[in-house]
Symmetry: D3
Subunit: 303 residues, 6 copies
């Protein structure tokens, strides 16, 4: 028994000491967020709720708890939009405070005002997002022999889920919202394995099949009617370094994919190159140079 | 201050206008689900609960809250099965209504009746599913030097989790249940990165190691004692098009993998080809032709 | 109507019969956990909460609900550590009981005592884990032109999330905790698609970009300042078999990656080989032999 | 130890035996609900949610999560009413099935149809309920020197809460809804200690102060501008018995309280008597005969 | 602004100082529970769940989520009883540790063992509790002209709810379980306003109508077929004091109510007196002496 | 069928019309809260959480999830106090905005600042509240022969629960916090049936036994060592009316109860009278005049 008590003493001391080490500036200084700032980090849970509400609004009758009826649709969309406005402007405010706001007291009133302005503009873009998603749904349905209906595509396909998050995040990025767009695409990345940077520019009728492991880099430009399979990388080849040996931020370094291109699974396209329209890139291919329109690239024979 | 109020007015107008655009038929017509239909979409949350209950029943004592004891096991399995019957028949009914039911009023009674029949048959298949899973557990344990016990494999391995969902979904598909099987395999896809189409046919002693990015297409046939690694694609090569230029649905287009085949990471097997029994396919290989039994394919030397 | 009742009878019988089959030893014997043992399996939900608390402690002010302030930080860290001690020692006890404890009655008191000892030691390692994570954050920030701030890296990057789980799990494994480490890395695997075995040894300033499909095997040794991209496999080539034809467990079979190595997407490095320091391994490459320091491997030209 | 196991055996047997006794018809026959009926009991939780929604609709801006604004009020009220329609018609259906439906299969379609009709009529009564409640709020505010504002009365006063539930329940009772009205008044009884039978008829400007222990019987008739204090009983004096010696159901047996009456705490008014208008009944008084208009009754002097 | 910061400083200091005062022994010594004891207090939430499960078992088909069917009833009752055994024995163990266990380390194994024994005996008493409740339901139904069915009485009547809790608590008290019985009757007290001490002894066919404010003291003895109304007190008249001037604990000090007695609202019966069988006690009466069988007491005329 | 559709049309119209009536100013104008004000009502749920935290702090080791240990107590109390500060100052701000803030935009900054000041002062009063509660616990224990321990009194007694809420609310009222104090005492009223107005002034060693139906009015003054039983009313006798015939607010109108008074169940004390010290007021008594010190009042003989 005395053994047991001794154990407990030792453990209490270890724990006490650890707590005090963890509270020393030396330990926490590189990994702490804003100890003098009273604005919380954006809430990932709240953003999940917001994206769920957006999905409900974009695809009426598919998501959320209620059966849409034409008679009551306006009430539901009205409430969803109002909730989105309130919740999203709060999160965007937090994003501003996290990113750009030095003097928290003075600026935060501006942060709130700007957040509302930006959120309202974002909401105006929802009909556009819905239109673009309707083209993506058609593209996925038409291109997949296993697809049984538009509804199945909207409700089940991870590609559609990831593209929805991307299109939401991209609109927010265009409005210079910091941090939030990345959080939204990372949500989809976690759920689907599809990693689309919110900065990428993507046209209509876009489809990703299966999708796990697909990566689309920050400065990609993708035309209309493009289809990607799982494991495709549209990445950077190498990074010009600055004088301290670190990569220079913000340079165009990812591929341009023109209209009507198909890229099969695990293909890797690297660098600011151009894949000409109507081209087909085979599976497991590694491409680092421009490809003329109408090309078909396949892996050299293996067996 | 008057500035603030002006802002608010502008925003209120933007929002009001957006709501009314989103409620126009022109905007929603391609992305709405059944505005006149009163049956809700299948509930993904309810299906998650059902799959959790099934996992509890298949592997007693591993999942769920309670410690299984032989004395009380029958009560717990009895309750789980009864809950599965009630919850799953409701979801299957919704699947029928989503997919095949035109005249919602008349047919929905049939939908309910059929859903119960089908669910009851599915439940009869549980002992078979449990048997198959026990072979899969053995295969994973025997094939992985890092596996410490059957229990660790059952409790932690994403491969086992994905195969469980697949085997459940496949039985439902055999009973012609629409939509639900795909939802169940997509759950596992999201959690594990392993994408097995419920239509694939897979034998006993099946193992997937690591698994992220593995894709098994709708018309695959896989024999006994097959093992796959992460990033393996068993896909379609190309799709015959119909007169409107869209892929023809429902054609056999994925590989046949015979008994005792191992396929290493990132290998891509495309088209209705046959990988002969006892073959080994190396990592990052691209295969589009039949492979005779007993073959070993590896990537041509690189360095 | 009589039809309906007949249906119900048939279904009731099918269900009853299935329940009784599922309760037969013949059916459950290979897939049941400890029917005579009263200790529950480790709780994945509780472990999620523990890892969330650890993330809060390691990166103050980023996760959890509250805004960290220097005045109150010690209270919050004190409470978090106390909760971690209580919750984690319970889970570790369950891990011991699952793995090594035969006579549940006698040993379980030891299990509890040992679990507390081990948990207390683990807590002492938290300042080290925090230090290592601070180097990983710097590495990710410096190496990614798209990264906007340390904060964004800590809050959003799946690589950081997966490495945090790995570093926690690795410390637990060093203390011979069974099962729990694997559960913790599988959580990250599910969320990020990055699969790091807790047994791997990894140095400072480690970065994984995008990361979906990356696999790091049990016996890997990775130096300082190493960077991996998505889809990289550090795997085993083949497994020596024991006399019954099964792989021998516990042999060193995964690569050694020396300092300052970069490995691009989808590269596959197999077997107990050594990638010399300062080397660069290109995308989609397959490597099964030692690589001398300073090498650059790229895929042979394709087009 | 063997002692411990013996204990466990004894306990297992006791438990097993008890389960089997509890499953014998002899034991359960008087306390079981409809073993052959597949319609669940009304859900008290769902009814709580419905009453909360009704409170939100009746008193906009006081209850629920959102700040009412004139611009968006119609969306919120529209959604609340639609939810109330769906949820309440389901509960009313269950009430019908519980109460009046013999042949569950045939009638239940009627139950559903009738439940919808009735719910729709109930919703039409909401403006009336709101009007009546607005008079009750004024009465409570005017009569209580401690009341600070209409808002405090609406938000905090148990009397208002209990009267709201009563007015909802009474409208449902008028539509011949079984069981549900009683559940709704019992909710308020539990929260406030005020027990108003849904069958009572109560005029405008009704107030109950403090209210704990106040009882208003099934056949009471209460005029306008009446005020009651805590512990007041408006009850039955005695019950005419039927031939088997049980009270005859449904006879008028509770008091009639005319306009402008005040009844102080713990007064007990019993039987089908009439308290004339403008009367005052003192605390702790026991009244079993008619009281003429304008009377003031007080307890005979005590000290 | 500097004002604002000064405010913050003052507040931080006030708070810090208060925390340190609250942590001084002088402050907490009279109101702290067992600082060296590692066993938590009984969980009121867990006890609520247990009582809900008991209600489900006693009245099959009324409470809980599922529709009872004869085919599956045994599974549900089996699971409920098993859960009750596990949860209740844990709570009873906590009750023992709270009340009687000095040396927490040594005794707690006994506490656990005894708790299981006692719980198992309690479970054996469930058929008796169910039988008694069936008599109480009949008594409430027969005595109340407003009662529409047995089902309404079971599902809605606060009297039945309070008596159920009392009968559960009384069986536990008979097994010398500390603290838990009182918690269980206080739950009902809070929900219904009916305060029955678990020590009271109450016969069959017991009914309480309305019930708010009814109090039944610890040493009451109540015969068969007794009915009480709201606000009835069966209390103690005065307490013999010990030498330090405090009431002596554990003396018989509450009334004995014989068979077939009715006590109307707000009546107060005080002291170890006997109300003879077949008596009727009128409303608002105060009784402190024995009452012979067959008496009828009413308040002296008032007006 | 056409019948069914007709029904639906009628119902849709009824519902639509009701929604539009409910949105007319005529209907909502008397029952709406601040349509132009963006500050939400105080949150009852948040206040419940706050009161629970306060209970944890006042009685360490009794409430909340964790076992208090002296080593970690300061962390837990520190975190609880910090949470109380943040949550309560938010609720107090809402209280200010509800009550006194006209120009919501300008004043709300002040509301926030004042709320923080007030909350900080309230926290400084916690040691006093704890001290007073420790005297109340002793009083309850000493006065109740059924009380088994201080712990039982703290954990189970509704009187203690109600007095705790009252003492918290009273301190807030002294700091001129609007609305919140009343919400906090009404919480206890709902749970216990004890209705203490936060404005009452109550000394040390206060006890309420059973308590259902006890009412203590706004301007009561209660000395030390006073004990009340269930159903006691300390109320107002009559209200002086203002010129419009409404009661004048804020006049002293409730009794003064001096030290060492006991008031038995259902007694009613009305008006600004004085019950002299050491008096005993019997059950069911009605008192409207001063009572000299040392009096004993009992109901005139009944039988």
């Amino acid at each position: 028994m005395s053994n047991y008590i001794k154990d407990e003493e030792i453990q209490n001391n270890q724990i006490k000491e650890t707590i005090s080490i963890l509270c020393e500036e030396e330990s926490y200084k590189n990994v702490i967020h804003g100890p003098h700032n009273n604005i919380a980090m954006p809430s990932v849970e709240s953003l999940k709720e917001i994206v769920d509400l957006l999905r409900e609004v974009i695809f009426p009758g598919y998501f959320g708890n209620s059966c849409v009826q034409l008679e009551t649709m306006q009430y539901y969309i009205g409430v969803s939009i109002d909730k989105i406005f309130n919740m999203l402007s709060e999160q965007i405010k937090r994003g501003f405070c996290f990113d750009i706001c030095d003097d928290s007291n003075k600026q935060c009133l501006d942060c709130e005002k700007n957040a509302k302005r930006v959120t309202s503009k974002f909401i105006s873009a929802l009909p556009l997002i819905r239109y673009l998603m309707s083209t993506d749904v058609k593209a996925s349905y038409n291109g997949d022999p296993a697809a049984k209906s538009f509804g199945e595509v909207i409700f089940c396909y991870p590609g559609i889920r990831a593209i929805t998050n991307y299109r939401i995040a991209h609109e927010l990025l265009k409005l210079n919202v910091p941090l939030i767009p990345r959080i939204i695409t990372e949500m989809a990345h976690s759920e689907t394995g599809i990693d689309i940077h919110p900065g990428a520019k993507i046209g209509e009728y876009f489809a990703i099949d299966h999708g796990t492991g697909t990566v689309i880099g920050e400065t990609c430009i993708i035309g209309n009617n493009v289809k990607l399979y799982q494991g495709v990388t549209l990445g950077a080849k190498s990074f010009p370094l600055d004088e301290s040996g670190n990569p220079i931020k913000g340079i165009n370094r990812h591929p341009i994919i023109e209209d009507n291109v198909v890229i099969y699974s695990e293909a890797t396209i690297l660098g600011r190159i151009r894949i000409g329209k109507d081209s087909i890139i085979g599976a497991n291919i590694w491409v680092t140079h421009d490809v003329p329109p109408g090309s078909t690239l396949t892996q050299s024979k293996k067996n």
